[in-house]
């Protein structure tokens, strides 16, 4: 059988729309998920046992179950429980935001933990009040240290976003599968889809390494 990659070109507009949906979904959930993850990360190091327990259960549960199951649950169960119709996009955003919140909270927690106790000694010796310790010394360092891992969390989210195709959202993967089924040319179409994901994700993973090196160089004391 001869392979004919020009088939793909005929569907470039549809694929572009699908890619746009994938990117849109990823960007929205990066912003929402990182914000959620930041507060969950703080809650996990909080002094309140209640906050710690609730945030731990949330994180462990979302890290301990397949994203596909989470997605199905949000798509099929959440509307029943809430008694409202959720649009596809809304369900996708909720599911992937919760996923992203769980993994980035671990990133923030690890970066908070990596700030040595001697930094706090210095704060005390300079007489800095608690509020200033947190806003001027701890948080800026924690965020800076978190940046490389957050970037690689974003790559993970970008990849996991392909799962929404399984619940009928018209993202890149969904469009690709549709075209592949209709044209009976899976080799050409699916390979191109895989390559599109690759050319976006690969440079990002390289960027992670570069950013990591820069952050480490800056924070090395």
């Amino acid at each position: 059988m001869a392979y004919d990659f020009s088939v793909v070109l005929r569907f470039q507009d549809a694929l572009a729309l699908g890619l746009w949906m994938t990117i849109k979904l990823t960007l929205i959930c990066v912003v929402l998920g990182c914000s959620l993850g930041f507060f969950i990360g703080l809650a996990r190091t909080s002094r309140s046992a209640f906050l710690r327990a609730v945030s731990s259960i949330y994180v462990e549960f979302f890290r301990g179950t397949p994203v596909l199951v989470q997605l199905f649950w949000i798509f099929f169960c959440l509307p029943l429980i809430l008694g409202v119709e959720l649009s596809n996009l809304a369900s996708g955003v909720i599911a992937l935001t919760l996923y992203m919140g769980a993994i980035t909270s671990e990133t923030f927690r690890a970066s908070l933990k990596s700030i040595g106790p001697e930094q706090l000694d210095a704060c005390v010796a300079l007489g800095l009040p608690r509020r200033v310790q947190v806003t001027s010394v701890i948080l800026p360092q924690a965020v800076l240290r978190a940046v490389p891992t957050l970037l690689s969390n974003c790559v993970s989210l970008f990849k996991e976003s392909a799962l929404v195709s399984a619940v009928g959202m018209a993202d890149l993967m969904f469009v690709g599968q549709n075209i592949s089924n209709n044209t009976a040319r899976p080799v050409e179409v699916l390979t191109v889809v895989a390559l599109i994901y690759f050319v976006i994700a690969f440079p990002l993973t390289r960027a992670v390494t570069l950013v990591e090196r820069r952050v480490l160089a800056k924070l090395a004391i």
Partner: protein
């Protein structure tokens, strides 16, 4: 100073401190320090020297005892509830420099220096920056104002750390093994800065392993071992002809290793 000549600057009374139930680090320490004194604390590792400084800075809880500064008690522990009470207002008169620099790595040199004056005392940024720049010039760091800690050598970092502590106009400086982490060729530049401060009669308490430095800077030397003061006197006596057996042993061993 408003107090009379003989009034102590620091008065440490029967200080006890332990880590957990079995490790007693300070076993009833009594020290009085007069204004203008430069006290060097020497002694074997684990003898409680660094713990003493950390307690004076309010970084460690204590089991019992009290510390006063300029006549005002600022650290005490009531035996009843074992809670360490710290008067942070008084504590602000004390500055401390640590072995591992502890500069804030995300801030440049000037930002490190002006953070506390601006945030604690509400000083405006322009005047704090001006004072910081002057201090850096004095310590030979004028060109490094906008460098980040990672771009500095160990000796430069430690000089910045000293400048940072001085920005709050401390009435007493604590130096906790500030040259121990440095490469040998960088030790002198840091010690020069401390000697400069000594020349201006800054009261200080120094923990160090460098006996040459101890001899040069001390107006008084305390030998601390096993959580108590073993010997206390002028440097010529404690370092030169110690009275106590344990001090003699220690001094001999230290100097033996150096030759």
């Amino acid at each position: 100073m408003t107090m009379s000549f003989s009034a102590p600057l620091v008065k440490i009374k029967s200080l006890h401190k332990s880590y957990g139930p079995h490790i007693q680090v300070l076993k009833g320490l009594d020290i009085e320090m007069k204004p203008g004194e430069r006290v060097v604390v020497i002694g074997p590792s684990g003898g409680g020297k660094s713990t003493l400084l950390r307690v004076m800075m309010g970084l460690e809880k204590i089991d019992s005892g009290s510390i006063s500064f300029a006549g005002k008690p600022y650290i005490s522990s009531e035996a009843a509830d074992k809670k360490t009470v710290i008067d942070t207002e008084v504590r602000r008169s004390i500055g401390m420099v640590f072995q591992h620099y502890t500069l804030f790595p995300h801030l440049n040199v000037i930002q490190n220096l002006i953070l506390a004056p601006c945030k604690v005392r509400g000083e405006n940024k322009a005047s704090a920056t001006k004072r910081a720049q002057a201090l850096l010039e004095r310590f030979g760091l004028g060109a490094k104002a906008s460098a980040y800690p990672a771009q500095l050598s160990g000796g430069q970092k430690q000089r910045v750390a000293i400048a940072r502590a001085l920005m709050l106009d401390p009435k007493l400086m604590l130096f906790d093994e500030v040259t121990s982490a440095l490469d040998p060729e960088l030790v002198a530049e840091v010690e020069q800065v401390i000697l400069q401060l000594a020349a201006q009669d800054m009261p200080m308490m120094i923990v160090t392993h460098d006996m040459w430095f101890a001899k040069n800077i001390a107006s008084r030397v305390i030998f601390c071992a096993g959580g108590v003061v073993v010997e206390d006197g002028p440097p010529e006596q404690v370092l030169g002809s110690p009275k106590e057996e344990r001090t003699r042993d220690f001094i001999e061993r230290v100097f033996h290793i150096r030759h």
